[in-house]
């Protein structure tokens, strides 16, 4: 109800809408960790490959229902499916594709987390795996406020190994086409978050930065939903940022937890999209922020820019939240929802 009221209050006013959301990839509820450990096992061949049986599917359904409930209860403005099946984190869409072999366990960025290295050995074809998850979530939410989550094409390119296409440009374009194909199969969603940590962690070199932007554009063009591109673990280099603004996207995300100065610099020097996503709650620390503190940080960012006329400001954790113990993840969501309400009130 809160949300509906807020939206009505915006009608006719040229003021910023504050939207609480998350980049998805949630931790499993603890009971599901236990049940799925028992059902699936602990080795790398036990991980999700897209053809799991009835019992496992049913367990994920129950867990999905729980995390959708957590978001609704917290009062988030966008609801994600939760990506609980994504054993390989952002590499998941490839891990379930036919043209991909999953090989050894490799480190997930600079974290104490690991995923199976996806090796592309044949022509990539979309699988509809993520679309099916979203359909299931639609059943739970009635389709309201649904937000899709995908790896951005550059990050997926960076996480994968190519044994088919032979050169970076071609491989990146193939990944973009693959993701665009996945997006085309989606049910109606309000927003699409493309997670692009590799834009920071493994910044594209000259030439590839422009192609990364084109690849993002390709995926974004496959949907009518608002598209948010969220890099994290720091700020993107300014040239990468400048290219990113050329893509037809609605918002860029900024990880203000990891880096304030360089993100503010990018915003001041190059401007921004009409909408913006602010990663203000730490997705990798159990310290739960005060909603007021997050609201204050929103104001601080707006103050740094001397503008308050973003159409939409998404308030989110900077990163995925699977790093957190389950109950801390729940608390983070509650804080984000409350912070967005506070920001709305303050702005009014």
């Amino acid at each position: 109800m809160e949300n509906i009221k807020r939206r009505y209050s915006l009608v006719g006013a040229t003021m910023t809408e504050y939207v609480s959301t998350t980049p998805g990839l949630y931790p499993l509820p603890d009971w599901a960790k236990d049940d799925l450990s028992d059902l699936k096992g602990h080795q790398k061949h036990d991980l999700i490959s897209g053809d799991e049986g009835e019992e496992i599917t049913a367990t994920y359904e129950e867990a999905r229902e729980e995390v959708v409930g957590v978001q609704t209860e917290a009062g988030l403005d966008r609801i994600v499916e939760g990506q609980l099946r994504w054993d390989d984190m952002l590499a998941h869409p490839l891990a379930v594709a036919d043209a991909v072999e999953t090989r050894g366990i490799v480190r997930y960025y600079d974290n104490n987390n690991f995923y199976r290295e996806p090796v592309v050995t044949d022509d990539l074809e979309p699988t509809g795996d993520v679309a099916a998850e979203l359909e299931a979530a639609t059943q739970l939410t009635g389709g309201e406020d649904l937000q899709a989550v995908l790896p951005g094409p550059y990050s997926l390119f960076d996480l994968a190994t190519d044994e088919r296409y032979g050169d970076d440009a071609e491989f990146l374009a193939a990944i973009a086409d693959f993701l665009a194909g996945e997006v085309e199969a989606f049910p109606d969603v309000e927003t699409l978050f493309l997670l692009e940590p590799s834009l920071v962690e493994s910044a594209p070199a000259d030439g590839l930065d422009e192609r990364a932007s084109e690849a993002i554009d390709r995926v974004a063009s496959a949907t009518d939903a608002d598209v948010v591109v969220q890099p994290y673990w720091g700020a993107v280099e300014e040239k990468v940022y400048a290219h990113l603004l050329d893509a037809d996207i609605d918002a860029v995300g900024f990880d203000f937890v990891a880096n304030q100065d360089d993100n503010v610099y990018n915003l001041q020097e190059y401007g921004a999209t009409d909408d913006v996503a602010l990663g203000l709650a730490d997705g990798q620390n159990t310290l739960v922020e005060d909603p007021e503190a997050i609201r204050d940080r929103v104001e601080w960012v707006e103050g740094q820019l001397g503008v308050t006329d973003f159409e939409t400001v998404y308030l989110t954790t900077n990163t995925e939240t699977f790093y957190l113990p389950y109950r801390k993840y729940v608390e983070k969501l509650e804080v984000l929802a409350e912070a967005a309400d506070l920001a709305e009130v303050t702005a009014a």
Partner: protein, 357 residues
């Protein structure tokens, strides 16, 4: 050339002139019955109580210490039978930590990643009981592995300190306090485990600074080793030679010694505890194969500075495989010592040795 620090662990009845100290990194497969005992202990409906659980751990510690002896190791460990996980175990013993539930490492492998919620403080001793029990159970010298402060900080959620470096140094002071107590109890061989450094090798400076805190006022004769798991060693070498430790324990068999050359220039001035059997392959290497691996170490350091150990903790291997690796490793070390005694080994080291000593 002699190496007093290392030679204090030379067994009185050691047959060869050369001495390649053999030891383990620390962890060892738990006997299956110990896991069953744990399940019983955690089962509320069972009458398996605290005393029973303590006795089970004592039995396991005695058993694995004896198994290390039987394999012929010069320096033994209890296989870390009392420890569940390398961060959790210590976090439970340090004031300032709390637990909020399991987090994912990969797939359905989780660990109870703790949060530092207030100033970390030293309460009761962490390892003195464990050390005293093991030392009582064997006549051989006992090594004490301790998770290093950098790993304790980095594999926790830091809610209380400005940054992880500050937390690392605070924890280093606690490790120092613990080592003092261990030394009072008779321990002479301490190994600091810093697997997190493999993830973020550029942080070697803070690890070095933490080690300065760790060894402060610890007597010279106490042997301090540093174990760093597989990673890009070129990013920490030669900087780590400045660390105030006696020995580096490195994982090199796993990568088939591809990174060996990293350590040849500049000259490796510390003792090298070389991983000579792969902790991630459940197949026992032959004595001949391990001999070849040991000789790789002689390309980096002279025999006086060489220590022989597995790549890493072996707790994930089947127990018979772990034992086979230990036994073959000891046999291989003794064979190489004999060859060295007889002058049959002529290996050129990577960097010229200084002529002054």
């Amino acid at each position: 050339m002699t190496n007093e620090n290392k030679d204090q662990f030379r067994p009185a009845d050691h047959d060869n002139d050369h001495f390649l100290l053999t030891t383990v990194v620390g962890s060892y497969p738990k006997p299956k019955w110990l896991n069953r005992a744990k399940d019983l202990y955690e089962d509320e409906d069972s009458d398996f109580d605290e005393d029973n659980w303590q006795e089970a751990k004592d039995d396991a510690a005695r058993l694995i210490t004896a198994e290390h002896e039987r394999a012929g190791l010069d320096v033994v460990v209890d296989g870390e039978m009392r420890r569940n996980e390398m961060v959790e175990f210590f976090a439970h013993r340090i004031e300032g930590y709390e637990f909020n539930g399991p987090v994912k490492v990969w797939g359905h492998n989780y660990f109870d990643k703790p949060s530092v919620v207030s100033e970390v403080e030293y309460d009761d001793s962490w390892l003195v009981d464990e050390y005293e029990f093991t030392a009582d159970a064997t006549d051989r010298p006992v090594k004490v592995p301790i998770t290093g402060p950098y790993t304790l900080a980095n594999w926790s959620f830091n809610e209380a300190y400005e940054d992880d470096d500050e937390l690392t140094l605070e924890l280093a002071d606690l490790v120092n306090e613990e080592i003092e107590k261990l030394v009072d109890a008779g321990a002479r061989y301490i190994q600091i485990d810093e697997p997190a450094l493999a993830t973020t090798p550029d942080d070697h400076a803070i690890v070095g600074e933490a080690l300065e805190h760790i060894v402060a006022d610890i007597p010279e004769e106490v042997r301090i080793g540093l174990h760093v798991c597989y990673g890009d060693y070129s990013r920490i070498y030669p900087e780590i030679l400045e660390f105030p430790v006696d020995e580096f324990d490195l994982e090199l068999a796993n990568g088939d010694y591809e990174q060996l050359d990293v350590f040849k220039d500049p000259e490796f001035s510390k003792d090298l505890a070389l991983g000579v059997t792969d902790a991630h392959v459940a197949e026992v290497e032959s004595v001949e194969q391990i001999e070849e691996n040991i000789k790789k170490g002689l390309e980096v350091v002279p025999p006086e500075q060489l220590v022989v150990s597995p790549d890493c903790g072996v707790k994930l291997l089947p127990r018979d495989v772990a034992y086979g690796k230990m036994a073959n490793m000891v046999q291989a070390a003794r064979n190489v010592e004999e060859d060295l005694d007889e002058g049959n080994i002529d290996i050129e080291r990577g960097a010229p040795t200084p002529a002054d000593d």
